[in-house]
């Protein structure tokens, strides 16, 4: 920022007012310009890199929060018939643990990488709609706040499980407003994910650097694209299901009321039509990260690039055709059972293809076992275990036996911790130098890796045995004579070791971001376009437009012949055009938050404020703020100003 000189102010989109710095509409608020206060800068930023850092920081916070919830669960299960916490609090904990980890930790960590890395990998200056991107961030953040606000209201957090089956969620069986918090916060988070996905799709399809054809795209960017398509097609199902549930709870409709003609099973279908693609929304970004890390540390190109991309797309498509394997015990009928069992087994093929391609990438490579590589190899092996138990569940008789037991808990934690989290950690260790210009310590990174790997396996492998011997999931406690005590003790020990490993990792991130030493711009000898600029990149990413000649462009620049080296477009005589900061994404997010809170408290008496009779006032306030912000957002236009790169700070200029 400061190293660049503001040259002139670009006229706004509406062509109206030229001249510096742009006034916002009606003069209500000054549109922040260069050199504004850092707090205002972060609140109003439209820079995809700053947005990504906020996504990442918030996601790590929620990861710790969800982790603490998990540790309390394990503490309660450490012995038979313990009463460390009440059964109701236990139910709230596993609900909030699942919801937090999926929607507030793993998805946003993926979004942080999409935001930071994808525009750099395609040689773009920013995403297609920078202000919409800021809106996604604030809505995600406020949605997370909304969910966790439920702890502070009478009745507390929702006790209904992360998939919240009807009719447990009806106002008869769940009268508390915890469930309303769950319903509304998931709606809000859905809006955030949808807005981000529209943005990423437009960005990847439209804003690639010259020469960067689709089949030259880094695999991570490919997986971002496929994940975004999954989000836009899967989230509507849960959004409508949540609307139906909200209507049932607030307006007395009958969607899931069995006594009045409604069918609770519809909730299961709608939820899993979303819920199974959601699994791939969580794992495809991880596969993308692994496909970036392995070639760098094996010092070989990715083996079978086209088939890896194609397999990712096939997984995405098949992901929509397997939802009923979550419902094998509901009495679907033989034909449906057979069809869904077959389709579920089919998914193993593209997944297996990917795993063999990754092994092929390692084969004959000059492998360096740095921390990102350790996590990547950890991903492959742990994800395979989760995959094997997944194929077991595709078989209807086996699934019927294991349904709702700890075997299932073991399976999806192998996929989500051994899979998603391991890969996200690999990505954080790999790209941290890009984001901060500093490198995480290898020693502490390796300590963290071995603790995570050992703790994770000790915590979750015994759950296979517990599930096989019939321990049901979501049980508050168990009797001593069931024979489950020993493995539960080991599992709790493992969970705390895993927690220690994660704590070391988070501590290392904070310490290094604060006090770490600067490192080289390309410390890993990497391959893709995000390394063809400074670390961290300047606000404009690339001073001139990169013209791409080949896949793995940065590797080719270092080791391949002259004719496929990266070229740079002409310098822009007017300077680099940058979009202006804006207050309105934040305000629109706050409006949406207040609107949603109004619906949560729809039927509640208002505490503290006598005379404020019903919360419909909050809906009106929130909706007005939302609409006003959207109008002012549209009217202020993208704006823009021009930057001239400072050659002393940016060797690429």
């Amino acid at each position: 920022m400061a190293e660049s000189i503001v040259h002139d102010t670009h006229s706004s989109a509406k062509g109206g007012h030229a001249g510096a710095p742009q006034k916002s509409f009606f003069g209500l608020l000054k549109r922040p310009g260069e050199g504004c206060h850092p707090v205002i800068d972060w609140l109003t930023t439209v820079d995809h890199k700053k947005i990504a850092i906020m996504y990442g920081a918030a996601a790590l916070f929620f990861l710790v929060l969800g982790g603490v919830e998990a540790l309390i669960i394990r503490w309660q299960l450490a012995g038979p018939e313990r009463e460390m916490i009440s059964a109701r609090f236990y139910n709230q904990l596993f609900t909030m643990h699942g919801t937090t980890m999926i929607f507030l930790a793993v998805m946003p960590l993926g979004a942080a990488f999409f935001n930071y890395i994808m525009p750099l990998q395609i040689g773009a200056r920013d995403v297609a709609f920078p202000r919409l991107n800021a809106f996604s961030l604030w809505v995600f953040l406020l949605g997370g706040v909304l969910l966790n606000l439920s702890w502070f209201f009478p009745g507390g957090a929702p006790p209904v499980g992360w998939f919240a089956y009807a009719p447990l969620t009806s106002s008869t069986y769940s009268p508390g407003i915890g469930t309303d918090f769950w319903v509304l916060s998931l709606q809000v988070l859905g809006i955030s994910s949808l807005a981000a996905a529209f943005n990423f799709i437009a960005t990847i399809i439209n804003m690639r650097a010259p020469g960067l054809s689709m089949m030259r795209l880094p695999v991570f960017t490919w997986m971002t694209l496929i994940t975004s398509f999954l989000i836009i097609l899967a989230f509507p199902a849960i959004t409508i299901a949540l609307v139906q549930l909200m209507f049932d709870r607030n307006f007395g409709t009958f969607f899931f009321e069995a006594g009045e003609g409604g069918r609770p099973i519809l909730w299961q279908h709608l939820f899993w039509i979303f819920g199974h693609p959601e699994v791939y929304i969580l794992i495809l970004p991880a596969m993308g990260i692994i496909s970036e890390v392995l070639p760098v540390f094996a010092r070989k190109p990715l083996f079978g690039y086209p088939i890896i991309v194609f397999s990712g797309a096939v997984i995405g498509v098949l992901g929509f055709a397997v939802w009923s394997h979550h419902m094998f015990t509901t009495g679907l009928g033989v034909i449906a059972l057979s069809a869904f069992a077959l389709l579920t087994m089919l998914i193993a093929i593209p997944t297996g293809v990917k795993i063999f391609n990754w092994i092929g990438t390692l084969w004959g490579g000059r492998i360096r076992f740095d921390t990102p590589m350790l996590f990547a190899i950890g991903f492959i092996s742990m994800f395979m275990i989760g995959g094997f138990t997944g194929i077991m569940h595709a078989s209807v008789p086996v699934d019927t036996q294991q349904h709702d037991t700890y075997f299932v808990v073991a399976h999806f934690h192998y996929v989500l911790i051994g899979g998603s989290i391991m890969a996200l950690l690999a990505g954080i260790y790999y790209w941290f130098p890009k984001v901060s210009g500093k490198q995480l310590s290898e020693r502490w990174g390796k300590i963290s890796f071995w603790l995570v790997l050992a703790g994770f396996n000790l915590a979750f492998f015994p759950m296979h045995f517990l599930g096989m011997t019939g321990m049901p999931r979501r049980t508050h406690t168990y009797r001593a004579d069931m024979g489950w005590t020993e493995w539960n003790v080991w599992s709790t020990v493992g969970a705390f070791i895993l927690g220690l490993g994660m704590a070391i990792f988070v501590g290392q991130i904070i310490y290094t971001a604060w006090k770490g030493r600067r490192c080289k711009a390309d410390p890993w000898d990497s391959r893709t376009l995000e390394w063809a600029t400074t670390s961290p990149p300047q606000a404009y990413n690339f001073p001139r437009t990169p013209i791409v000649k080949t896949r793995d462009q940065v590797w080719a620049d270092k080791y391949d012949s002259e004719e496929i080296h990266l070229e740079w477009g002409p310098e822009e005589e007017h300077g680099i055009h940058m979009p202006d900061r804006s207050w309105y994404p934040l305000f629109a997010g706050i409006g949406l938050f207040i609107f949603a809170l109004g619906w949560v408290l729809f039927k509640e008496p208002v505490p503290f404020i006598p005379g404020f009779a019903n919360f419909l006032h909050l809906q009106v306030v929130g909706f007005s703020l939302l609409m006003l912000s959207i109008y002012l957002w549209a009217l202020e236009g993208p704006g823009g100003y021009h930057l001239h790169p400072d050659k002393s700070k940016d060797p690429y200029a």
């Binding site: 437009a202 409508i240 139906q244 409604g262």
Partner: protein, 208 residues
Amino acid sequence: MSQAHTEPLGKASEHVHPEEQTNTGIPNKKVAMWAFLASDCMFFGTLISTHLIYRKTTGYPDVTHIFDIELTTGSTFILLMSSLFMALAVSAMHKGNLNNARWSLGAVILFGSLFLGAQVYEFHHFVHDLGLTINGSIFGTTFYTLTGTHGIHVLFGIIWLSSWLIYSFFGTMKREHALDIEVAGLYWHFVDIVWIIIFPFVYLIEYV
């Protein structure tokens, strides 16, 4: 959003920024709108499926005595005609004929409002004269949720287009906003198409 002042109508803007030239030649706003419409298909798909599933499984009584099929056929025709004017508005914008575009936009808004008015009348009539309420029967539940969601889409489209109509009198809407009108038009046509699916699957099917 970064698309607002790009190369419309061959009119030379001062300088086109490189980030405004897209790989596909399709403006970002249009790609994002298509993505949104794909998503909206799934929204309506879920609602329509819910309605049809409950129609099949709960066997609610004959509702043809509730429907006023002549009225609904008429309002369907009106909504279809609004799409014609929407197409004319987009075409006029591309030709740079602001005045024509303004009249066509006005017609879209008028016809959209007529459709919405018919729906409001229909709902009012159903609730107060025939006792069909959202929390009275499973048919009422799915019927009002589905058609109401469609009605909100129409209302949103009317507000969107009315904003442009108002801007056109204050000089905010210019020739270079042809793209914005076209994107709004995509949305409007989509909402229309959804009604073409709702009309047979919610109304006509009851007469079969």
